[in-house]
Amino acid sequence: MSGTVNVRLTVNGVEHTLDVEPRLLLVHALRDELGLTGTHVGCDTSNCGACTVHLDGKAVKSCTVLAVQADGAEVTTIEGLGTEDDLHPMQEAFWNNHGLQCGYCTPGMIMAATALLADREGEGMITEEEVRHGLEGNLCRCTGYHNIVKSVLDAASKTGEMVA
């Protein structure tokens, strides 16, 4: 068994120093070391997107990143986006449009969706087709995506920049 490695992470604005096994996945560092269980694991082949977080502002699947690779990075998880009493507009849009059922895919879906909109800031109103393509890496078994897509379009139409 190899020794541990020191990793510094800024997660949701808070700096952490961790001693981790080199093979520890970022998702497990977030969940098991930092107790941020809002980020979920739904597969072992990087297909489902349940583990999506923002790493230095980009959406990544945290099951495909080692904690050591994230050394020095800024991570935002679902817990850093909004709280139950002060939801982020994307979370609010999912609520208003029934964009979730069991909720398991939801944090990853929301992190992917916020990154999707942020990435194309200034490019005009996003289309349904773009949303569907943009969320291709996130699986949901409950909603058939209908209300997820509706939620994202709703959030886009309400966040100024995203509207044409």
């Binding site: 269980t37 979920h40 072992d44 059922q101 949901c140 058939g144």
Partner: protein, 792 residues
């Protein structure tokens, strides 16, 4: 007032209220099974068979045990103190089911890839996986069988002791089949393959067991905490009150968590043995290999009709591939389909004959729809072919055979009584959304340009709201349980309400819809009604969530329970205001004296009186009660769906262009939630129709072990859905409701298939089995070119 006087629509019922459960889910604050850990928790990892069929010659644990932090390695023989094997709960009267012992860890032999041979338990989540890889199992491979029709022919046998792979035979029928076919001018026969699929909830399974001080607390990602508690008590030889099962937030089930799994029993057993909490979280690869799967039938369908389209007889022979073992309800699943075999049609003679077969594959059991998607698929695709052979319009053929609305409650040939229906109405409404003439013109134009567009329909009904005990319990269908549901309503001092349900939701939104039901009956806001579920220690004994039963059975139980509270409230108000109880009525949020609306009390005031014991002579103080409800019948949702597809004849690729669904689930409690259920259900069936298939090779190796090769549909493969409703109340419950969780899945696969066939008929294709993959479509087109007709 009796419960049936209660008007279904109210201040809150019928409104598209956004869900109460959502904020915690949206903010990442919900607790799913993997989010729970206790001090001293040990992790379990399973050693699973890479062989489809083999004898276990030896298991060498030594290397694994030498690893730091490993506490134990167990094999099947170590679990000798279990009171029995894993349960099969279906004991159909008069039917013999071959039932091999099925243990949490294999004893002597493995029967499918993934069958667990040993478990490693240790301190670290990653290290136990390393240690499991160090367990050396010596297998003697045995011949395997994966094709159910081959399996029925003889050896090799999955379970030698039966000297057959046949598990059982079961039939349901009524009417004179021979006379029916003799009367027919046209008979259509089809071999319909309904392939194997996975439930694939986004959250895999998981369990955390904590045995301490003679008491077991077990958290599991399950749909059935109440069943699980009972079986854990039995298998572990514990007294039932010493076992508490909690379903925490559950990330989807779709039937795959309606089970008593070996891993759940093992975790509990190991926690007792080792004196520490034991946790296991399934990987997706395990989920796709060992969590029970669904469908997998070969259906031989024969239908007869007169020249004018009148149906005369239907005979269906089902070869049901059950996989390697019977699990909780395995052999019962295909039989569920027999209960709606004639669909929405009047057919004087109907017969379903089922033969179950063991193969060296993962066991099958309930997956969303459970038997009913298979039944609907086979009749709806056969109706299209029949119309074609009669030279009759597909919808005209359907209309001609619909059970007319004035015949409800309608008894069908094999004795089931459909509660209510108006099939014409849903079809009419569907056609308001789909302009058929315009579609046909467009189809012609596109064909001229080489684009093959087709439209397919599915008019369906399904049987759900699992209950009544009389029909599905030991004296009826043979499930060894009662199928009522329970509810308990507790009004607190301040008028806030906690309501307990024996249903156990996992995404369906009961915390909202059930609160709407209670709120209307007690004159409070749904915000102050907390729905508690999924914990055997808090509420009454329950019967859980599956078979679209929660609302029609559990919701109704809760409605009746709330009415009992309201009755007591009225008596207390009458006592306090010196009026007659019959004169007290609930108007908005107050119980008032009829005719003098200024004289009244809120629920909070009533509760205050109830807990101060200011109640009528002879009445108990307090404001709390429990109800058990076992209905007289099932409920039968129905609807009409249309699907429009484009098929590229060069590549065989199918694209769904439009999907329109009109469903009738009786009175709507929350339209937002209903639409969501329909969307998900349709997507599940489109997944089966086009993409998803569990595949084994001839030697029993699983080909689809990850999401890389098990193709769940993504957002970019599906369209937005168009949904609408009609409301035909069910007479079975006071809410007038029917289930909606499975309807989309039951309806959609034939609509997609019929659309593809409609697109390809000009090319000579008249049938293709699912999944309608590019390869299969392309083959069908080539076959049709060669033969001038096809059956693939």
């Amino acid at each position: 007032m009796t419960v049936t006087d209660q008007a279904p629509a109210g201040r809150h019922v019928g409104r598209p209220l956004r869900r109460k459960e959502d904020p915690r889910l949206l903010a990442g604050r919900a607790r799913y099974i993997d989010d729970i850990t206790l001090p001293g928790t040990l992790w379990a990892a399973f050693v699973r068979s890479p062989e489809a069929h083999a004898r276990i010659l030896s298991v060498d644990k030594s290397a694994a045990l030498e690893r730091a932090g490993v506490h134990a390695v167990f094999v099947g023989e170590d679990l000798a103190d279990l009171a029995g094997p894993l349960p099969l709960a279906w004991v159909p009267p008069g039917v013999e089911v071959n039932n091999p012992e099925h243990w949490p860890l294999a004893r002597g032999a493995v029967k499918h890839v993934g069958d667990p041979v040993a478990v490693v338990i240790g301190e670290d989540r990653y290290a136990v996986v390393d240690a499991a890889a160090d367990v050396v199992v010596d297998y003697e491979p045995l011949p395997a069988v994966t094709d159910p029709e081959l399996a029925l022919k003889g050896a090799p046998f999955v379970h030698e002791q039966f000297a057959t792979n046949e598990t059982h035979r079961w039939s349901l029928g009524g009417g004179d089949l021979d006379a029916g076919f003799a009367e027919a001018d046209v008979v259509v026969e089809r071999r319909v393959v309904n392939h194997r699929t996975a439930g694939a909830p986004m959250e895999p399974r998981g369990v955390l067991a904590d045995y301490r001080a003679g008491t077991l607390t077990l958290w599991s990602s399950t749909q059935v905490p109440h069943f699980l508690r009972l079986f854990l008590a039995i298998l572990l030889g514990m007294s039932e009150e010493r076992v508490r099962v909690i379903a925490p937030e559950v990330g989807g089930g779709f039937g795959s968590k309606l089970q008593v799994y070996g891993e759940e029993v093992l975790a509990a057993w190991a926690s007792r043995k080792l004196g520490q909490p034991v946790k296991w979280i399934e990987t997706r690869s395990e989920n796709l290999a060992v969590t029970h799967q669904g469908r997998d039938q070969i259906d031989y369908v024969k239908i007869g009709a007169k020249r004018d389209g009148t149906l005369t007889a239907l005979h269906v022979q089902i070869i049901a591939d059950l996989g390697a073992y019977n699990m909780l309800l395995t052999p019962a699943i295909p039989a569920l389909g027999a209960f709606v075999m004639s669909g929405v049609y009047r057919i004087p003679a109907v017969q379903t004959d089922i033969v179950g077969v063991f193969t060296n594959k993962c066991p099958t059991d309930a997956i969303r729809g459970a038997g009913r998607p298979e039944a609907t698929h086979l009749i709806e695709v056969t109706m299209d072919q029949l119309a074609h052979e009669l030279g009759m319009d597909r919808l005209e053929l359907r209309r001609r055979n619909f059970i007319p609305k004035d015949q409800f409650p309608a008894e069908v040939a094999f004795g089931i009584v459909y509660d209510s229906g108006d099939y014409e109405k849903t079809l009419e409404k569907l056609l308001e959304h789909v302009d058929l003439d315009a579609f046909r013109r467009e189809q012609e134009e596109l064909r001229a340009r080489g684009v093959y567009r087709g439209i397919g329909f599915s008019t369906y009904t399904e049987i759900c709201g699992l209950a009544p005990t009389r029909a599905v319990g030991p004296q009826g269908f043979g499930n060894q349980a009662g199928f009522w549901e329970s509810a308990m309503v507790r009004v607190h001092n301040t008028g806030a309400v906690t309501a307990y349900t024996g249903a156990s939701p996992h995404g369906q939104g009961h915390e909202t819809t059930f609160a709407q039901i209670v709120a209307d009956r007690l004159g409070v806001d749904p915000e102050v009604v907390e729905i508690v579920h999924g914990d055997t220690a808090t509420g009454p004994e329950g019967r859980n969530t599956y078979g679209s039963r929660s609302l029609a059975v559990g919701g109704e139980a809760l409605a009746r329970c709330a009415v009992k509270i309201a009755d007591k409230a009225r008596a207390i108000v009458a006592h306090k205001l010196e009026a007659a109880p019959e004169d007290i009525e609930l108007v908005d949020d107050r119980f008032v004296v009829r005719g003098s609306p200024d004289r009244g009390m809120t629920l909070a005031e009533v509760a205050g009186a109830a807990y101060l014991n200011e109640v009528p002579e002879g009445m108990e103080p307090g404001l709390e009660t429990t109800t058990f409800w076992d209905p007289d019948n099932f409920v039968f949702p129905f609807g009409a769906h249309a699907c429009i597809v484009d098929v590229d004849p060069e590549t065989g690729k199918v694209t769904v262009q439009r999907y329109v669904a009109v469903d009738d689930c009786g009175h709507a409690i929350n339209p937002l939630v209903i639409d969501g259920q329909v969307h998900g259900g349709i997507a599940h069936a489109i997944g089966q129709a086009l993409y998803e298939q569990v595949q084994y090779d001839d030697r029993g190796q699983l080909v689809t072990g990850t999401f890389v090769n098990y193709g769940l549909p993504t957002a970019s493969e599906l369209p937005s859905f168009e949904t609408d409703r009609t409301e035909t109340p069910s007479p079975v419950n006071s809410l007038g409701v029917k289930g909606i969780g499975e309807a989309g899945t039951i309806a959609a696969s034939p609509a997609v298939t019929n659309a593809v066939i409609d697109a390809l008929r000009p090319l000579g294709v008249d049938y293709v089995n699912m999944p309608l993959s590019p390869m299969r479509i392309w083959d069908a087109i080539q076959g049709a070119n060669r033969e001038g007709g096809s059956q693939s």
